[in-house]
Amino acid sequence: MLRMENVSKIYRHRGQPVTALNGANAEIPEGDFVAIVGPSGSGKSTLLLMLGGMLSPSGGRVLLDDQSIYELDANARAQLRKQKVGFVFQTFNLVPYLSAMENVQVPLYLVGQDGPSQEARAEELLRRVGLSDRMHHKPCELSVGQQQRVALARMLANDPAVVLADEPTGNLDPETSQQVIEFLEEVNAEGRTIVMVTHDPQAAARAKRILRLDRGAIVSEKPGRKTHAAA
């Protein structure tokens, strides 16, 4: 379970304090699919990075499975990330000089898997995202949609319990966006918790819950289309 308790984040920009999060509280149970929406500068990405143990709060606590993340040192947080958290970025953030296969192998290398196990797992994941014929292509040799699929395969490499997606459809055409959202739903159906920051109302509607962020605070919560349909 992910929990934020009265979390605030204040940056200093040119000597002036800028409040990114202001006493945010949230509870995201295991297996949930949450979309975080809100205007630009509302603190969405800050909140996501904070949930991933990448950005320490100015105040409050962030807990993952009842462990206060920011009471751990940086290396312990890195350890926690590679065991429990998978990231998906708007710009995919693939390593440009590695092939699709090697990009997926990176998280596996980080947890200390040997070469043959890395290759077998990477191949399995790339087949799952439909890139069995593009395994040895570098990112620049792939289409934008294919690059995001490599990023999705990489995200799943270490079988994370929590997936944090920052605008995963932001750079994609509607058809590819649809495929990515379907893939996230599929992953969520496997029991993983998904937290997705998005500007896209259609993508947000596919989540179980939608949290609206404004001026660093969660101002509203409503169920997603799926939850409505189920109700």
Binding site: S45, L49, G52, M54, L55, A74, N75, A78, Q79, R81, K82, Q83, F87, F89, T91, N93, V95, P96, Y97, L98, E102, Q105, V106, P107, L108, Y109, L110, V111, G115, Q118, R154, N158
Partner: protein
């Protein structure tokens, strides 16, 4: 996927950016290795030269430099042969042996050798007899001398600089000449239109004498068409007498010649070697600053360029230690490659240029590979440490926001 794969892939992806730093370190190590290699063999040659020379005083033309003597003493300037007679007939104490020489270049089978005229002992005895006095008639108490030598073996020339007899049609050839021209004892050798008997092939000395052909001084004078002149007189002087001012006395006897001791020659050569050592040190300092700055600059730029990649790796669970290792491994590879490359090129340069620059045969020195790789790796690691540390301390969030 391993750390090495991660680093090597990046190196080959952006090799053109790495090239400048690599070339800087490669050139620096090349220069250090070649200077060290040449200096070592130059020093060794001086030691051999001194050991094989036997003589400890040299009489040279006034305008000659000491380097001329090492360059096979055939740079053109001469002194009259009559100086030998003057010395032989003088009453100077401590002159144990005299060996006048005249050298000229000769080409045979497309190769250039040095033809050196020498005066056999029998001629001195004649000169001494003319005067009724001189070095062969007075008691000698300082060691080796012309008069004391009893060996008839002509190969003693290689070591003792004197020979009992040498006929007009006889030559002695140095080891290299013998090997290159395929000569052996009793062979015939045609030289500048004359035919000579090879009386002996001298043993290897490791000095310029290995490339010489020795003939009678007067024969060489005829061939050189310079008249009764010589380039140098090698003198074995009694050490005690030298310390009592023998050099000054010879100077007074031969005011138009330059009289130097071997110590002075050695000093000059040692000065050159010291200069080369200092040059090597200077290059070491330059490479530390220029090479180090180049590597550090490249690494800082590389860290800046890869900040998103570093942030991504951190998001995937890489800790700061791994990021540090990625950059230091890259520096290590750069250092090892620069060291090995610099050693190989430096050694080739030393072997090729050594004989031309320092007049010595230079052989590869494997021990220098340790110095080359050691300096190169240490430099690359030190220069890369701070950029690598900066990478390891990057805030991954900032890297995502900036790009």
């Amino acid at each position: 996927m391993t750390l090495r794969t991660l680093v090597m892939r990046e190196i080959f992806e952006r090799k053109s950016q790495l090239l400048t730093s690599f070339v800087a370190i490669l050139l620096g190590i090349t220069v250090i290795v070649s200077i060290k290699n040449i200096t070592y063999y130059s020093e060794k040659a001086v030691a051999l030269e001194m050991d094989s020379l036997g003589a400890n005083v040299l009489v040279l033309p006034k305008s000659s430099t000491l380097q001329d003597y090492y360059a096979a003493d055939m740079q053109g300037d001469t002194i009259p042969e009559e100086y030998v007679t003057r010395l032989a007939m003088s009453d100077l104490a401590g002159l144990d042996n005299l060996s006048p020489k005249l050298s000229m270049p000769v080409a045979m089978q497309g190769k250039t050798f040095t033809l050196t005229g020498i005066l056999p002992k029998s001629e001195f005895q004649a000169k001494a007899a003319w005067g009724g006095a001189g070095i062969f008639s007075r008691p000698i108490g300082c060691g080796a001398s012309v008069g004391m030598m009893g060996s008839e073996d002509k190969k003693t020339l290689a070591r003792k600089r004197v020979i009992d007899t040498l006929e007009d049609n006889e030559v002695l050839v140095g080891a290299d000449v013998g090997a290159k021209l395929g000569l052996k004892e009793a062979d015939q050798l045609a030289l500048l239109g004359r035919s000579f008997n090879v009386t002996a092939v001298l043993p290897q000395t490791g000095t310029v004498d290995d490339s010489r052909i020795f003939a009678h001084l007067h024969v060489v004078q005829d061939l050189a068409q310079k008249g009764p002149v010589i380039n140098a007189i090698e003198v074995i002087g009694c050490c005690q007498e030298i310390s009592k001012g023998l050099v000054d006395k010879i100077n007074r006897l031969l005011p138009d010649a330059k009289v130097v001791t071997i110590t002075q020659i050695a000093d000059a050569q040692i000065k050159i070697n010291r200069m080369m050592s200092n040059l090597s040190l200077m290059f070491l300092v330059i490479i530390i600053f220029v090479g180090g700055a180049s590597i550090a600059n490249y690494m800082y730029a590389n860290v800046f360029e890869r900040r998103r990649e570093i942030g991504t790796l951190m998001a995937l669970g890489a800790n700061s230690g791994l990021v540090l290792r990625i950059f230091l491994l890259k520096a290590l590879i750069l250092g090892v490659a620069g060291g090995i490359g610099g050693y190989l090129i430096g050694t080739i340069l030393a072997v090729v240029l050594g004989p031309k620059l320092a007049g010595v045969i230079v052989l590869p020195m494997p021990i220098l590979s340790l110095l080359a790789v050691g300096v190169s790796v240490a430099l690359a690691l030190v220069a890369s440490y701070f950029p690598a540390r900066r990478a390891a301390r990057l805030d991954p969030c900032a890297t995502f926001q900036e790009v």
